[in-house]
Amino acid sequence: MKTVKLVDLAKTIRSKNAGTDRITFDIIFREKENYDLVRKSGALTKGAIAKLFDIPESRIVDFVEFGPAFAIKFTINRLVPSGSFGEGDIFGCQQYPPLLDIEIPV
């Protein structure tokens, strides 16, 4: 099956703290077509995200399709709050890159 990488379909792919205990991920499309293509593809689901980051699905606390912005959004629990001892990304804003290479069947 032919596939396209998510990075080539989305306008914005980002991550950021949502409060002190969570990191939220936004995947935003310019066109409704790409938004529909990805959300119906079955390649971007709770299960796929859990597998990609190697975390239990229970750590994914929100998984929302947000029509007004042509966006898919999900949020994960941090294991320790942001900025704790041993932190690597206080703002949580460099946790999205693994999403770029997700292969979407077209």
Binding site: A18, D26, F66, A69, F70, A71, T75, G83, F85
Partner: protein, 456 residues
Amino acid sequence: MQKETLRIHCSNGHLGFAPTKEESFWIGARTKPDYYCCDSGSDDIGPVPLGADKCASHREWQKHDLELMLLASRQQGVPMVIGSSGDTGSNSRVDMYVDFIREIARKHKMKKFKLAYFYSEVDKEYLRKKMEAGEAIEGLDSRSNLTLEELDKTDRIVAVAGVHPFIKALEMGADVIIGGRSSDACVFAAPAIYEGFPEDIAYYCGKVLECASFCAEPYGAKETVIGTITKNDVKVTAMHPEQRCTVASVAGHAMYERSNPYYEHVAGGMLDMKDCVYEQYDEKTCRITGAKFVPVEGKIKVKLEGSGKVGERYLGMAGVRDPYTIKHIDEVIKWAKDQVEERFAGKEYQLSYRIFGKNGVMGDLEPVKESKSHELMIIVEGVAPTKEVAEEVAMIGMRQIFYARLPEVKGTAGTAAFVLDEVVEVSPAYQWTMNHIVTVDDPMELFKVYTTEIGE
């Protein structure tokens, strides 16, 4: 008389964190808005500023941004409202901002005006009493209810204000409000409610304006936007000549930094954005209708943020270039950890390694297990109850990377490259000990409002 429309100027999504851009500030100011409002804080910056009671922002940038707002608002005789002063909204940060306002007023020989300020810090004993009386301090975002042990570990607590202390300050006739910790959206919602606009409109207006030009495109922070509200709608307009507020940029911003794009909780209720309708009103303006504010049933719940000290902290840095050492980096780290443990066995300390080039940014979330980097940077973090021990932990932890014993290493004159052959003292380590809510009888009971006169 009640205004038909209200226009609120927002020049910076986190006042002082990076300087406000002046061109769009003055373009906005020339349209004579009714209020100048900015939020100046965030919990994004980690637990250190709140715990250590200091700023993350630069003092000169904070003053610069406050000066712009005070000049414009005093020239036009309209109110200026600041929330979450000095990054954390702690009492000392409020006092500091009040001093800045005084200093700026003196510099420009401003005429007399009334300044109101309020504090948001919460006394630990207030919460302890409630807890000992059997009241639960509920955890947010999957946290458990607060324990006395967690309370004991906390050094400073701020409550996140809703609109209430801002409205109170406006009722007291404030020209300038310097607020303690508060919900970003409430800095804008409060004047709108005070002016008689519906809560649905007021809170949504706050939600869309709170990050200034983050709701505009193309991307560019610290530029001014203006929100215009009537009883029926909110319009947001970008002031920078190159920026526009579009359906995509405004709807996209609704998701920013939040777990769920449809709901926003504040002290006093919840903003429901499920039925929001976004329309392009003119080239630079997006119009939004359909937001609903659902007031809380029963008593008001106020969010609490708490930070507690973990220990003194030193950092060390070590680079590695030898491919054989890179391949065996986990053994190198184990060796260094063992050397620290040999010296400090049984003593209280913490030692962390972040290996950049391997998984330094993402840690356990990193899906790339096999590093292809030809060089690594290792950040060593040592934490202990005293500076002496923290320094030694970091120092041994760093230097033993240099002395790592790998059987087949070619370079036998040192297995690490140092940027500095020393470890550096950084802010003590703190932890977010509280992300909870407390139930109150009166939303004002946690926020004391004071007024003072400033100017000649």
